[in-house]
Amino acid sequence: MNTFVSMLRWEARQLLRSGAAWALCGALLMAAGLAGWAGARKLERQRAEMAAAPAHYDEQMRGLGRRFAPTGEAGYVAYYTFFPTQRHLAPLAAFSVGLRDLVPAVVWVRLLGIEGQLYEADLGNPAVLALGNFDLAFVFAALAPLVLLALSHDALTRERESGRLALLLAQSGSPAVLLAARVGLRFTVVALTCCVAWLAGCLALSVPLDAAALGWLGVGLANLLAWAGVAALVAASCRSVAGSLAVAVGGWVVTVVLLPALLNLGVAACYPVEEGLALTVKQRQESHSAWDRPRAETMSKFFVANPDWSGTPAVTGRFAWRWYYAMHEVADRSVAAEATAYQTNLLHRQTWHTRLAWLAPAAYTQLAMDRRAGSDLDAHLAYLNQVRTFHQELRAYFYPLCFAERSLTPAEYADFPRFRPSPVPPADPVSPLPLLALAAVSGVLACRAARRLTIA
């Protein structure tokens, strides 16, 4: 009979009798359940907010109808009409909350300057828009490896300390095979626990068992495999249980807590980003200052980007809607460079986080999972661009009415543009290859260390 299979069978029997193993896997399942529940609640709130948006819009339109219908000055109506936009909600977002906790699910926009409206509801500082959330992704990326380390760090050190190592080696011959059987079995147990949590989550949260969900699970298992390699290396390299425990826990703290924080600080220092709210304020200041400038100056700036309207009569009165909205568009354009830099630097940060995160497997895993769940920074910025595009539609609809300075017909009320949420085109998935490479390298090093193992 194959010795490796034999080892697996006996290790399984011992593990089944281990109270610590049951307790740790139970705790992992409970953490996964709690994380799934928390993710589902967050998503439920967002779904409710999104579901309520059309009703709020209709109610708003009824109010506007009572106030302005059957007619109403187009600029006036546009000023008071808020249009809901909502991000696409992928089912996997319940597993990987990502940025969904920090940015709003629904952004209401008016015909005013778009840059002044995009970040009004941002809840977070972009400096922290990077990592972290207690969701299923965190459980897979950080907690499951901790359980695996707790179960595997002493795979050989406990044998040495209990005096069994000499007899084991005399019987089995190969410490590397023994190590592979032990850590492999523990990896399988923790991976199965994760799979149970994932499947239960899919069923409970109605997540379809499609390629995206399987890819998400695959990334989590690749991360666990990387940690299995690390656990084997620790078990083969250390001489005492206390030593292997200290190295395992220390390694986890450094790579899961400290390193991502340092990477975040480093990347943030390299790519400084103003808060989105600063853009809002700047845009507002720009538009407010236009009240004190000659109307013609604002209009001529507007005509540079909108030559089609340059033939319209000059604004002579104290107020005209076409001048008002031109003022906002000019203000938008005045912060265009900052808005682009904001996006570009956030994307740079995202790119560098992804590039450097292989140093910290947990952070890398969370990035990869968030990407697959459409809840990462790329998806957020893509949504903001969808809102910009929709705002362009609003301008295209209302500008002719405002420049004609006419009232709306009842048909035009019903024909206001509506935002249609669409899935963001999937960005390149963050590959699990670095995790698999880490697993392979640490596994090879662990085998080498095990082969050099002495009982002295």
Binding site: S6, M7, Q14, L167, L169, S172
Partner: protein
């Protein structure tokens, strides 16, 4: 079967084994006597391939124990001075586990026969080892070595912790194994048992093999006298 040639091993400048040579053929039992620190266990560890000699060679059936340790270990069975087992498994399960590690899968009855043979009470076979005494664990260790059915046996104080009856039974086992052609190297402090079961006796002191004799050359009292004379010299 077992051949040690000019074996030398140092630990941080201390000479643990100094130019030791001996051989043990099939059916022979060499008893290594000597005080603590004489180099007996280090010699056994070199034969097991756990330690690499600084000079000389240790061989099992022509296999170099340092370079071909895995292959050499397959030909050896080993009983350490203190047998530590898996406390969550029963005596029979421990025996089955260690046997399967060595590539042997025995029936439950055969495993129990071995345990009974080494004197472990039948009612202890299916009890978890956590409740075993040191002597009971030692008996399971002996059963593990027997079940491996190896061609050579390395024993490091094998009767440590055994009651007199079990130690006597163990001596009879060794005699049977010798009859079956197994080569045995036994490190021990038990001069009387060494004289009764060994085909050769060697006394080690400060890493050197200082005296070799046949058991027929001395009775128990004479052996004790020669041993004390040697180590006090």
């Amino acid at each position: 079967m077992l051949r040690v040639t000019n074996l030398t091993k140092r630990f941080a400048g201390t000479l643990a084994v100094d130019d030791v040579s001996f051989s043990v053929g099939p059916g022979e039992l060499l008893a290594l006597l000597g005080p603590n620190g004489a180099g007996k266990t280090t010699t056994i560890n070199c034969l097991l391939g756990f330690l690499t000699p600084d000079a000389g060679t240790a061989e099992v059936d022509g296999l170099n124990c340092a370079r071909e340790s895995a292959a050499a270990r397959r030909l050896l069975a080993y009983i350490p001075e203190q047998v530590n087992l898996y406390p969550a498994l029963t005596g029979a399960e421990n025996l089955a586990y260690f046997s399967e590690l060595a590539g042997h899968r025995h029936s439950g009855q055969r495993l129990r026969d071995w345990l009974s043979e080494v004197g472990l009470p039948a009612d202890a076979h299916d009890r978890r080892v956590a409740g075993y005494s040191k002597g009971m664990r030692q008996k399971v260790g002996i059963a593990i070595a027997l079940a491996k059915q190896a061609r050579a046996l390395l024993l490091d104080e094998p009767t440590s912790g055994l009651d007199p009856a079990a130690a006597r039974d163990f001596s009879q086992q060794l005699t049977r194994l010798r009859g079956a052609g197994v080569a045995i190297l036994m490190a021990t402090h038990d001069l009387y048992r060494a004289r009764d079961v060994a085909s050769h006796i060697a006394i080690m002191q400060h890493g050197r093999m200082v005296q070799q004799l046949a058991p027929t050359e001395a009775n128990h009292q004479e052996l004790e006298a020669r041993y004390l004379e040697t180590i006090n010299a």
